[in-house]
Symmetry: C2
């Protein structure tokens, strides 16, 4: 008997809520993709109840379900097979509540990040998660992938901003864990299971998010440094001198700084292009005068002691925007070739050696290429970009991946700082996780989704489990 | 066949590592307990390997294991039955590594909190978890119970300070997940499972902890306010005006303030005793001059606008210590009766009504008693103390518990903000968690400890599970 997937889903969400396979060929597979969606159907529920009914039916019939948010992921974490059902949260985008006293927001999972940022701003509050794809990425997707972004050093990852979740489990059970409290030690903190599990353990339908008071004063500087040791020491200096207000510490190796401050890039260099390293440092405080004094003093003492070689301090909000525009002009890596983009993390003490080894091995084992390194150094997170000739991309990609990932094992680094594993990094998960860790992930998957219907094949393949069995 | 528990454990950890049942009657059951330990044996391993071998044998033989840290818990979370084995981490108290650049510490689980605080201080760093039992409580216990304490508003709970864990699972499997990175999205974040699970899912043997730069300037004030609305607004004011430096916001209802500032208490009132509410506010920053200016300005604007009625600003480190000594003089609740101590959390918007309802229901349903309320208001966490006559304690305790806990359901409060559930709050877990949440907790317990040997009966009893089964 053939299942009538489309027909059944239409009885659950209504006719307009289901797209058939043929219609999906008109939809892009994602923000950075050239292909289109493939699936048996795409279902767009408008309520948690509809998500629950959809999953209950798929579970009973062994139909695989891949959940979609804004499709801005970079690791093929939401790819579907032609026989799968795609469950899109695109019609669940209501901001249900903003409480300025408790400083919480309740949102449906399909709300785009920027929509919430803009809405809370009206209440003089801030939701401090921020990333380049803010206009498209959804809060449910941010939670499912534990998104990082620009201000982790101050506010943590998405995980730290989530107070409660409503999740639909594989069999359709609705787990309502909509905690609004900063402290709640009443049993296991179940939301942690679903944050960062990339849709493999449940479908997040609603979130309670922690809001912050809106910062009243931003200070920024673009700094040049002549050694990596200075980069590490300057981080400590800023963390101490700026107290709790340090909100970004972005590093760029020289080649990346030159790329984004030279034509054809639109940006111009705020300071000379001959330093070995550059740091974009930002503080967000409460008092324009006092915070400005403190920030300037911190830069001056660093200059006077020779810790940093040069610094341009932003004099206006326009300067701040221009500094961030430089950092965000990552698109320049598309000039003259195809980029292979990595997102790794490693201890700050290992970074210089890692970068040097990588430069040497790429030099000796890969032909013509360009290498750029930049990232959220305050969090130990580097983005590595290796650009190769388009014709050689497919042949070189696995070689480059091996050169980038393998040295991470020795320094306890991670193959994924913030992008997740998806399908793309699955072959390298073992670099950062032991056999027992992967076995325990499988134990959890088996316990929560024994039929394996939720985003199957992502992060890890089925295999041995552990835990007292 | 009778198991030779003591003999077998001695082959694993050596003769000196095991205490027999008779010897345990000389050991206190805990820091706030009048009884002594009871168990078949107490085993004191010195290595993860010994913990693993102990658990493997107990698992194979169905012997229950209760893990002990510093025994400073307040919810009977580490009580053992006479047939249980107690596994104490007291001989695993090595601080293995402090890395001032990466700002991480690696410690064995039995290290007392204060030992680490003192050690990192020598490196001009801070481990910001802080609580009254710092000298006795262990870091493994802090992790297993997700301890809170005085500075959650700034640094979060223990959960936010843990980067990696080594855990021994029920069957003796060693799960080494000793991540040192702030960002690591390589698959499920397994450590989250064990943090706050009160020893029911595994035995934490080693931790990687995130350190911070040591704060260079502390400012404090004792503030009087005449309405609860002002207390809530003043929190927002401080959070905004003090930027990222607000590090404590402790509230006291008038009766508690009078208790700790009147004889026989040693403390004297920094401001008059007639305000309805009192707040202890602290900021920790980086610059004595600038932070002091900002702190004073924040208090002055609050005074000028009428938001607060009075304020005493600490003029010295001695003043700061004296202010904290008042807050910490909780022992005064033992004067003239026996206290029943609660640790609840609820939305700030619901607090005034909750306190008023509680006052009224205690008045009408309980005879002679005293009620004090204080707590970490910045985190939504109130400590409620109801003092009754010693002779009536046992009879009144269940009644008082019901009056304190039941109203929390309606306002989405928690029966445990930071103390955990243990045995004591198990009957009230349902107030804060739904049937599906408790069922999922059981699913996890079943997956990780199917024989139920780890700290059995704590948090919840066995029962139905959920998750696609």
């Amino acid at each position: 008997m053939t299942l009538d997937i489309v027909g059944t889903l239409r009885t659950i969400v209504g006719d307009g809520g289901v797209l058939e396979a043929a219609e999906l060929s008109k939809r892009s597979a994602g923000a950075y993709r050239f292909d289109t969606l493939k699936a048996a159907a795409l279902v767009r529920p408008t309520s948690t109840q509809q998500v629950s009914e959809t999953l209950r039916w798929c579970h009973a019939n062994g139909v695989h379900v891949v959940t979609h948010g804004g499709l801005t992921g970079l690791v093929h974490g939401a790819d579907a097979e032609p026989s799968d059902v795609i469950l899109s949260l695109e019609r669940m985008r209501t901001i249900e509540e903003i409480d300025p006293k408790q400083r919480t927001a309740v949102v449906q999972a399909g709300v785009p990040l920027q929509a919430l940022q803009d809405e809370v701003d009206k209440h003089d509050l801030a939701f401090p998660l921020d990333l380049g794809s803010r206009g498209t990425a959804t809060l449910g997707g941010n939670a499912a992938t534990n998104a990082g972004g620009n201000r982790v050093i101050r506010y943590g990852m998405t995980r730290e901003m989530i107070l409660g979740l409503e999740v639909v489990l594989a069999d359709g059970t609705v787990l309502s864990s909509l905690n609004h409290l900063i402290k709640n030690n009443a049993g296991y903190d179940l939301k942690q299971l679903f944050i960062g599990s990339e849709g493999t353990l449940g479908v997040i339908t609603r979130l309670v998010l922690r809001l912050r008071e809106k910062p009243l004063a931003t200070n920024m500087a673009f700094v040049g440094l002549d050694s990596f040791d200075a980069v590490a020491k300057f981080l400590k200096h800023c963390d101490r001198a700026l107290g709790g207000t340090l909100s970004a510490y972005e590093v760029m190796w020289q080649s990346f700084y030159r790329l984004i401050t030279s034509p054809p890039a639109k940006g111009r260099p705020p300071i000379g292009q001959d330093h070995a390293y550059y740091v974009l440092v930002e503080s967000q405080g409460s008092d324009l005068d006092l915070d400005g004094q403190r920030f300037t003093a911190a830069m001056e003492t660093a200059l006077e002691s020779g810790l940093i070689a040069d610094a341009a301090i932003a004099q206006s909000e326009e300067d701040c925007r221009a500094f961030w525009a430089l950092r965000d002009d990552v698109g320049q890596v598309l000039q003259g070739g195809l980029p292979i983009v990595f997102d790794v993390s490693l201890p700050i003490t290992a970074m210089e050696g890692y970068a040097e080894t990588l430069r040497e091995t790429l030099e000796s084992e890969i032909g013509e290429h360009r290498l750029w390194i930049f990232g959220h150094l305050g969090d130990g997170n580097l983005h590595v970009v290796v650009q190769v000739k388009p014709m050689e991309y497919l042949a070189l990609r696995p070689k480059v991946e091996a050169l980038v990932y393998r040295p991470l094992a020795a320094c306890n680094g991670s193959v994924s700082a913030e992008h997740g594993i998806g399908l793309e990094k699955k072959p390298y998960l073992y670099v950062s996780r032991s056999a027992n860790e992967i076995a325990l992930m499988r134990t959890l998957k088996q316990a929560l989704d024994p039929k394996g219907i939720l985003n199957p094949g992502k992060i890890f393949d089925p295999g041995p489990v552990v835990g007292g069995r």
